[in-house]
């Protein structure tokens, strides 16, 4: 754990929280809550003795240089100019429309005095000049991806983010290419063809950069693709290695270093033998969520998608390594351990949701953990060195599982909710998209809580047998979704989750699905958006609503906060509903699509024509 020694100070903006974080480090061993112990009352929580995380790569506090802000996927900012006392004064300072009418799921990135944002298809990139009023574009890059990709993307022509490294903006195109653009000039540096979009492979996840490597994966869980993750050389775009999620050990980069903890994962070529003959190559296990990285262990972590086809009757077996998590050597790609969240996934639950790398006091000692909110509605805590399951608690209503079986290390199936070919099974909770989809939570080391947008929905499901036809859906699920609570019930909620207790500290009901990312700051403010377009700020300690603003479209983007070149703290988020949130289409109050990035500041103050550019704040690295 390095947090105490590596967290950056920023001169005049040094928040009191740094000291508290340090306390958390020193006193961490004093926390001793058993997994089964009741959650502490939120109002009497201590400020220490709970979790923490490594903020590597320690980017400047005023910047936001990767989707999750840090390798651990905390989405925690140490800025506190905007805090619980003044967040109610937030006002829009400028907006930016990219004009693309697909779901806006990414977080804008800020490096120094420039903001970088990329539209969903056609994946146009923009560099916005934060030193000038209204942040005009310095350059625009148009990669012209193939329009065919739109119809090969299961769930809207989205892009979940982009990455910065080696002086480049790096991101995936929907047509299964990865492109790198020079940060200064906006010119293409390299473009690598990763797959053939005509066979149903798209790419929607955010590229992830560690040092000289770019990690990318594919989408197409509904198209019978072969799921994979690849590492590219950041300088040339050349592929260094690729690891498939199904198939032989050779294809999956499973070798001598693979030491899974549980016996069901030991054996030769399980990615082939846990499938009917010949089906693994169309078995998906696509890689379309966020990646995280532990610099001490030099491991990357990511989840794999549902098996294909989505009709389980056609693929008896556990269908490894779908709906799973892999820990891999960041340099070689070799698998180190794996764990399958939903064996023989019958409901399209996937395992792609992010792995938050938190250090938590579990069972009387600090553990290096992964916290993972799976679409199957279990909040898992795993040991990230070994893959040991430490906790598995439901964070929202579900009825597909009758509890977690600590002998077999898999959820017990409720047979009543197993799908049938040609027959309808009603009210399966959660539906295919889970009670939480890809939308990333945040973690505050000041409160020890995780803040996560969730759903409150179920499905009626009829399965149809399907044939594999390249470039068409290998799917077979006919679904309608509805609220857990009946016709007029809520479709969403916002949770503050105590990962040590395995319980919600508090929960806020929402009429519409919450499918935005969240961020939390040293000002103890949490930001999130709703799919009907409200962008909200809450007190991170008690969930009190401190501010909200209705945006032009629904929010499924990931907020960020940063310091402008004028030293002022800003908050930014994209509005532009789409993606899986469109299952709400037709509900009264569901907004139209949009394409607008909003930037907020206290009183709407910022760089103006009259004042010009202010001097950088003392201590900030610009």
């Amino acid at each position: 754990m390095k947090i105490g020694s590596t967290i950056q100070t920023k001169g005049a903006f040094l928040p009191a929280s740094v000291a508290i974080v340090a306390c958390a480090l020193v006193l961490s061993s004093c926390s001793d809550k058993q997994a089964s112990s009741p959650a502490p009352n939120a109002s009497v929580r201590r400020d220490f003795g709970h979790g923490t995380f490594n903020p590597a790569p320690n980017s400047a506090p005023g910047d936001w240089t990767s989707q999750a802000r840090d390798y651990a996927n905390s989405r925690y900012s140490s800025l506190d100019q905007i805090n619980t006392t003044n967040v109610s004064q937030l006002k829009t300072i400028w907006t930016f429309s990219d004009g693309a009418q697909y779901g806006h799921e990414g977080a804008p990135l800020v490096v120094g005095s420039t903001m970088y944002t990329v539209s969903p298809f056609p994946n146009r990139a923009y560099a916005l000049d934060l030193t000038k009023p209204g942040a005009p574009a310095k350059w625009q890059f148009d990669p012209n991806p193939a329009p065919m990709a739109i119809g090969k993307a299961c769930c809207d022509a989205v892009l979940r983010g982009w990455a910065i490294g080696d002086g480049k903006l790096i991101y995936n195109l929907l047509d299964a290419h990865t492109v790198a653009v020079d940060l200064k000039t906006g010119k293409e540096v390299w473009r690598t063809a990763m797959a053939d979009v005509s066979r149903g492979v798209t790419m929607t996840m955010s590229a992830f950069v560690v040092g000289g490597k770019v990690y990318v994966g594919n989408s197409g869980g509904e198209m019978g693709v072969s799921g994979w993750i690849s590492a590219l050389d950041i300088h040339s775009g050349k592929q260094l290695w690729r690891a498939y999620s199904t198939g032989s050990d050779k294809d999956a980069l499973i070798g001598p270093r693979f030491k899974p903890l549980y016996p069901q994962y030991r054996g030769k070529d399980l990615g082939l033998t846990s499938w009917p003959a010949g089906m693994a190559p169309q078995g998906t296990g696509a890689v379309w969520g966020f990646i995280s990285y532990d610099p001490d262990l030099n491991l990357i972590y990511y989840g794999t998608s549902n098996p294909g086809p989505r009709v389980p009757a056609q693929r008896p077996g556990d269908n490894l390594w779908t709906s799973s998590v892999f820990a891999r050597d960041a340099d070689t790609g070799e698998a180190v351990w794996a764990y399958q969240f939903t064996p023989h996934d019958q409901w399209d639950y996937d395992g792609v949701n992010e792995m938050m790398l938190l250090d938590l006091p579990i069972g009387g000692r600090m553990r290096k953990t992964i916290v993972h909110f799976d679409r199957n509605t279990y909040a898992y805590v795993l040991d990230r060195q070994t893959g040991e399951v430490l906790k598995a608690d439901n964070f929202a209503p579900q009825n597909w599982s009758a509890g977690f079986d600590w002998k077999t290390m898999r959820p017990k199936i409720n047979p009543v909710k197993e799908p049938k070919v040609g027959g309808k099974v009603e009210h399966i909770c959660p539906p295919d998209i889970g009670q939480k989809d890809w939308e990333p939570p945040s973690f505050s080391p000041r409160t020890g809580l995780i803040y996560v947008g969730i759903f409150n929905i179920c499905m009626d499901l009829t399965d149809h047998k399907v044939s594999y036809i390249a470039g068409t859906p290998y799917d077979g699920m006919e679904m309608t979704r509805h609220s857990v609570d009946g016709k007029d019930g809520d479709w969403g909620a916002f949770l503050a989750w105590d990962p040590v207790a395995g319980k919600a500290a508090w929960r806020i009901p929402e009429t519409f699905m919450v499918m935005s990312g969240t961020i939390v700051t040293a000002g103890d403010v949490v930001f999130y958006g709703t799919t009907d377009g409200w962008f909200k700020a809450l007190n991170a300690r008690n969930g009190k609503l401190l501010w909200q603003q209705k945006l032009s479209s629904g929010v499924i983007g990931q907020p960020i906060t940063y310091l402008g070149p004028d030293g002022r703290q800003y908050v930014a988020v994209a509005s532009g509903v789409g993606g899986a949130a469109m299952v709400q289409k037709g509900r009264p109050g569901m907004p139209a699509r949009g394409s607008t990035l909003y930037v907020f500041s206290i009183d709407g103050a910022g760089v103006t024509a009259a004042t010009g550019v202010a001097a950088p704040p003392t201590g900030a690295s610009r």
Partner: protein, 191 residues
């Protein structure tokens, strides 16, 4: 072999002339039927979209008001429905045509036209945003049955309305006499 498919092709070719649009000569398919459907960008056949349908600049020929040789035969619709599921059309357009990855087929919005001949063309040639070119894999009779099913979903345009529909007339809500809310209200008051 005088199957309905052959009749359909003969009808089509007769109405249009083979030069008007390559799609009519589907029986001259050269691609092997290998079960893999090429997408439109891999399509090696004749020129695809006749501009008259979408750009408005060309004079529409007789092509787009060609009727489905199966008409609205319930047997053809049922066969088409089976094909719609078997060929994974339902995976994109929804099991009842309500849309999903692909556009809905049960409403009155048609990017490439909702008359039978236009639907046939879209299925045969594929479309640029990912719709595969099924002319490679399916014979004409099956394409017409798929067309019959799509036409039955609720938004189909009658062949004789196809030309008017290019201008937004004679179809959908307008055809049902509800062009604007005010008119509907006035009609209600009159009764």
């Amino acid at each position: 072999m005088k199957t309905p498919a052959v009749v359909a092709i003969a009808l089509t070719a007769g109405a249009l002339g083979a030069s008007a649009s390559g799609w009519v000569v589907s029986h001259e398919r050269s691609a092997p039927r290998d079960g893999v459907v090429s997408t439109n960008t891999g399509y090696q056949g004749p020129a695809s979209v006749a501009l008259g349908d979408i750009a408005g600049g060309a004079v529409p020929t007789g092509a787009i008001d060609l009727p489905n040789p199966y008409g609205d035969s319930s047997a053809a619709v049922a066969d088409g429905k089976r094909l719609f599921t078997a060929m994974n059309c339902a995976g994109c357009h929804g099991y009842s045509g309500g849309g999903g990855m692909g556009p809905p087929l049960n409403d009155h919005y048609w990017r490439y036209g909702g008359a039978p001949a236009q639907i046939y063309k879209s299925i045969y040639e594929g479309r640029p945003k990912g719709m595969p070119a099924w002319g490679h894999a399916l014979p004409a009779d099956q394409l017409w049955k798929l067309t019959a099913f799509v036409s039955s979903l609720g938004g189909g345009v009658e062949p004789q309305d196809a030309v008017a529909a290019l201008r937004g007339d004679g179809t959908g809500a307008a055809k049902e006499g509800i062009t604007i809310p005010g008119e509907a209200a006035r009609a209600a008051n009159d009764e």
